[in-house]
Each structure stands twice: as structure tokens, then as C-alpha cells.
Point group: C2
Chain length 167, copies 2
């Protein structure tokens, strides 16, 4: 088996979109920055996101039973950094900023995110240090941004979605 | 709930790295193009990949018990297209091309892929039309490419991993 450091070095080459995953409900509101997320199936529309058990956030997500996956646009790096680290602001204060609205599930949604997937948690599975949380997509909203925020080689990158950048 | 088409439109904005997932063993050799994959945990180093049940490939992967996730470099679009569609070449013929070697598990590995994760299948879960397959990473190899192949907005993109493209 490879070491944790070898694995991290390998994963650093695996480019990924960046998301803020949020929830609100009886257990309170919270959010975190995620790049470990992907589509599972379109029938029924279902995606997954991985969440560290050590963060203790999983109990809030699982009790609320809902989350919103906010996929960041190229100019939204500040949100990724804000939700990846501790802040002097409470979650309630952060979500009260004008950039945030509410998805139908009640989860905070970032108005200018490239796309927002409002989900109901339908399953969850423990794997090592993490939870894999499966969400059935209830609503989708788009913004008009033309670029996506990517994380690769331990840096942020802006990917233009226009035709001129096509391979 | 959203329609399949709405979900596909939403997912088209979710930029993702492109991989060829391969296997070889008692059940034979095969491979497919995937963008639904992500890291799960570094302890023990584990990643996941989603596979359509309709393709019937899952039985080959599950019986072999191993796979290699070959993350494509920016100039490897031809492999993505080749493994996403039917070909006149058999899998055996494709993997005999000089671009392919063998990972320690026996799964075909693409020599110039950005990174290759050689995995042992440790779990699998059915979700709707798909299998989610969990692989514990046994070996990792790198190539020297400086760009990654991305799929977003229903097009391929080349993401430069050099510092000049940083956000």
C-alpha cells in the first residue's frame, strides 16, 4: 500500500472542481469546502460528497437530512478559502451575507455559484476516516458565470468554459 | 425532483478530470472512460469510481478485484474518446499498443497518464443505475506532463498545471 504522503502527492495531480457544501435544519447550519464530490447517476439524479468524520460536521448533515452543493465559479476563490478554514465569523453570520440565499431545502445557497444542487440525503456510508454522503437532487439553479474554479497541483486555477479554451 | 435532462445540464457545469479505468484478471481485461471519480480518504488511501450497471463491465471489475485509474494528461484526449465508444479493436488489441504497460495488480496502465492509481477493490455499492466501486490504492506512478484533461460544458479542456495559470 502507498503512504498517506504518496497518496496526497498523487491526488494533487487529480484536478477537481471546488464546492461549498452547506446545510441548515434542526441540527443547525454549517458548510465546508469540498473537492471530493461527483455524479453517481441521473436515474434518480444522485451525487455524492465525501466528508471527514473528524470534522464532526457529518452529524449536522445527517440530522438535517439535506445539503446544497454549490459549485464555485472561477472568481469565487474567496469562498473556498473562507469555508476551508476557521473564521472569526459564525456560520450564521457568514450565511447572512448578501451573497447567500436559501435553497428550497433550507440549505444556504450561493447566488453566483456556477451551479447549485439542492439535495436530500438518501444514504451515507463510512469509509475509513470519511463519510460518503449520497444526495438525491431536488432542485438545480444556474448562474451565468463563464468560468469554473479548479484545484490542482495544490493551487487554484480558473477554467474558462468558453469555446476558445477547448481542446 | 429534477428531471434527468435538468440534472445532466447541471452536471455539465461541474468540471471534472478524465480517467481511463482498466482491469485485467480471471474475468478478462476491459476499460472505460470515467469522469465520476474522487478521493475518499488518505487513511487508508482510498478512491472511488462510478460505473454504469448497464455496461455490464462491473462484473468484470468485481470478479478481477482490481483496477487502475489512469488520470489523463491534457494531450490524451484520444484515449478518452477511444474508451468512451465502441471500437473495431478488441480490448486485448488496444492494451497491446505501446502506450500501455501493466500496473503491479496486472491492470493495464497508460504510461504517459498524469497519474496512475493501481487499486484493490475493497467495497462496492449499488446506487440506482450505477455501481460505486471503492479501491484501496496499492501503487501510484506519475508522468511528467504539465497539463490535465478536463471535461466541462460538454467539451474537453486542457488545464495547464504551471504557475502561470494560477488563480
Amino acid at each position: 500500500m502507498v503512504s498517506r504522503q504518496q497518496y496526497r502527492d498523487g491526488m494533487s495531480r487529480f484536478a477537481a472542481a471546488v464546492h461549498i457544501v452547506t446545510t441548515d435544519g434542526p441540527a443547525g447550519s454549517t458548510g465546508f469546502t469540498a473537492s471530493a464530490a461527483c455524479s453517481v447517476t441521473d436515474d434518480p439524479p444522485t451525487l455524492l460528497v465525501c466528508l471527514n468524520r473528524m470534522s464532526l460536521l457529518h452529524s449536522i448533515f445527517l440530522e438535517n437530512g439535506v445539503f446544497c452543493l454549490n459549485t464555485l465559479a472561477g472568481d469565487q476563490r474567496e469562498f473556498s478559502e473562507s469555508f476551508a478554514h476557521r473564521s472569526e465569523m459564525t456560520m450564521k453570520e457568514r450565511f447572512a451575507l448578501p451573497e447567500w440565499g436559501r435553497a428550497e431545502s433550507g440549505s444556504p445557497d450561493l447566488r453566483d455559484a456556477l451551479v447549485r444542487f439542492d439535495c436530500r440525503i438518501v444514504d451515507a456510508k463510512e469509509v475509513g476516516t470519511h463519510w460518503v454522503i449520497f444526495g438525491e437532487v431536488q432542485n438545480i439553479r444556474f448562474a451565468h458565470s463563464k468560468s469554473a474554479l479548479l484545484y490542482a497541483s495544490r493551487s487554484y486555477h480558473k477554467l474558462s468554459l468558453s469555446r476558445s479554451n477547448q481542446e
